[in-house]
Every structure is written in C-alpha cells, then in structure tokens.
C-alpha cells in the first residue's frame, strides 16, 4: 500500500486526457492504495465549476470525479487563486460557483501533502521520480514564458520554497525564455526576484546545450543558473527527485 497524490492540469474540455486521469485514479484506488488528494490546478480548475457541462456524447467527467471521490473517500481540491483567474469563485452558490463536492484549497495544502506522498501522478501524464527517493522536488519547466503554465509553475515553486522544501527548478530550451526579459507583455522577473531575495533560492538548472540552442548565454538570464551535463540532469530528475512536477 502506498499513498498517491494527483495533480490535474488538463482542461475539462480535453475529454481524452480527462478519461486517462479518471482511469488511472480508479485503477490505483481499486488496488487498495490511498489517494490523499486530487488537486486541480491551471486549466484543471474548470472541473470545480458549478456550471460545467460536457458535450453531447461525451461522458460527464465532473460527475465521475465526484463519484470516485465519494466511493474512495478522497478530497477534490481546487486551487482558489488560480480558480479566480479562470472565473471560479471558490465558494458554493450563491456566494460563489464552486460545485458541491469540491473544496477550495491552496498550494500550501498541496505541497504539504506532496512532500509526504509516495507517488505523484500528474495529468497531462509525465515521467515520475523514483518512488520514495529522499531527494528534492523537481520543477521541470518546459513551456515558453508566454504560456500560463510558466506562471503557475513558478507560483508553485515559490510556495515550495516558502515551506523550505528542497527544490530544483530545471529549464529546457523553450522554457529558458522565462528567465529572459520579453519583448512585450508581463515578465516573471518580480516573482523570480522574490525567490532569490526572500527565499534565497539558488536551485536553477539547465544544460549548456539548451542554453546554446536557445541562442542565449548565462548573462542573458535574470537569475544565476547552474549548467549541468545531460547525464547529471538525468540523475537529478531520476534518482535524486522525490517528485517531478512538470509545467
């Protein structure tokens, strides 16, 4: 018996990914494992919407989540802050539009569960860290700065850092743009500064190859980033990570 935590970031409209998540939760619950929490983050907060409906011919995934949660007694937690960015006021009607059966929660709660969980399963699906490894939580950033996932991931990293959990932030070629001043639109610099100034976070990593392919040098980046060899990066992600969270 192990305990699991699920992180769902798929939009409810993505029926295929939604079914995949439900299928896996069901399987794990049927095997007798504990499900500590299902946390809806990013576009996944839409599952907690009171007015959510599904197209004709598609299964009602919200209903399926509610039934599973009831059957196996686990909480369905919606990130309240990201929820408000998707039009979800995380209280039951009439005060808000949270669906009955979902709870409003936060990153604090999620991170405290995550650090005690044996396994994290993330949807869209992602390769997982070594089970039970006593390492850090790896944040693997893969999207360019223009994607909301960049901000969602950074907020989660900030929360983890504020809880003083050991963390690594790893950037691939595309994601390195998150560390560079954009031509237009908001940048992530103030959040990055907060990580560095207030939480004295230094665990930024990439590879020399990624930096070169992105056409950047270390001087272009807002924060000091350590360069790893591809082998060292693999080790950081596989054996040294308790969990990997991908954004």
């Amino acid at each position: 018996m192990a305990n699991y935590i699920f992180l769902v970031q798929t939009n409810p409209d993505d029926i295929h990914a939604g079914l995949d998540a439900i299928h896996q939760v069901t399987q794990i619950a049927e095997q007798g494992h504990d499900i500590e929490q299902v946390f809806f983050y990013g576009p996944g907060v839409g599952y907690g919407h009171h007015f959510l409906s599904f197209p004709a011919g598609a299964p009602n995934l919200q209903q399926q989540w509610l039934e599973l949660a009831k059957q196996y007694a686990f909480p369905l937690v919606v990130c309240a802050t990201v929820g408000s960015q998707y039009g979800l006021e995380a209280e039951l009607p009439p005060e808000g539009n949270l669906a009955l059966g979902f709870q409003a929660g936060g990153l604090t709660d999620f991170m405290s569960h995550l650090v005690n969980a044996d396994h994290l399963l993330q949807f869209p699906a992602v390769k997982q860290g070594q089970a039970g490894a006593k390492g850090h939580i790896s944040f693997l950033f893969q999207e360019p700065a223009t994607q909301p996932a960049a901000r969602h991931g950074l907020d989660m990293l900030l929360m983890a850092a504020s809880l003083e959990l050991p963390c690594a932030a790893i950037y691939n070629k595309m994601a390195l743009t998150q560390l560079v001043e954009p031509d237009q639109g908001p940048d992530l610099f103030k959040r990055l500064d907060m990580l560095a100034d207030i939480f004295e976070f230094e665990g930024f990593y990439t590879t020399a190859e990624a930096l070169q392919q992105a056409g950047l040098t270390a001087d272009d980046l807002r924060v000091p980033v350590r360069l790893l060899t591809p082998e060292a990066l693999d080790a950081l992600l596989s054996t040294d990570s308790q969990h990997i969270v991908r954004f």
Binding site: A80, A90, G105, L107, D109, S162
Partner: protein, 109 residues
C-alpha cells in the same frame, strides 16, 4: 468604496482599495479604524513595509512570505507570527495589506 473626508475611494470586490496611488497616511488611519486598529509606530512599520514590498515584487505578500521578508529585513524579533498577530489580530497579511491600500493577498498562498 471608502468614503473619507468627503472623497470617494473605489474598492475592489473584497473591499480593498482599487487604486494603489490614491493611498495616503490619513486614508490608512481611516481604513485601520474600520479594522478596529489604532496605528502605532509598530503598525506603520509593517504598513510601509508591505507597500514597499508590493512596489518591488508586484505581489501582496501572504502570511508566509510576509514573515520571511520581515524577518530578513527588519529582524527575527519582528519576523514571526506572534509579533505580527499582536499588531493585526485578524490576520497580519490580510489587515496590513488592506490598510496599506494593496490588493488582498492570494487566498491559496
């Protein structure tokens, strides 16, 4: 909306000041009175601290961040929740940011 000295100050849906730049110390004293707080020099220190924090990081500091940042810059004897709750009994982050004319800190952080 705050109605203070015959002026109207728009607020957001949480009843926090909508426009950061409309803030003034007299307005802060008025908002504090709504929170049943009389501002002492110790309160002012925190109020100015969160305003500066907001200008620097574009974020209303939530409790954990506030404790950490105050501890770092004003010293450990002030960067702890006991001290901050003694000043702002209903939640230091919530009350200090409201008095400082900032948006409400994120719920989930």
């Amino acid at each position: 909306m705050f109605l203070f000295q015959g002026e109207e100050y728009p607020t957001d849906k949480h009843d926090y000041l909508l426009h950061f730049e409309q803030w003034s110390e007299p307005l802060a004293e008025y908002i504090a009175s709504l929170e049943n707080i009389t501002l002492t020099p110790e309160h002012w220190e925190v109020v100015h601290f969160v305003r500066n924090f907001y200008q620097e990081y574009d974020t209303s500091p939530a409790m954990r961040v506030l404790v950490k940042a105050i501890g770092q810059r004003l010293g450990k004897e002030k960067g702890n929740s006991r001290y901050l709750y003694s000043l702002f009994p209903k939640g230091p982050a919530k009350q200090a940011t409201r008095i400082a004319g900032l948006p409400k800190p994120a719920k989930c952080i």
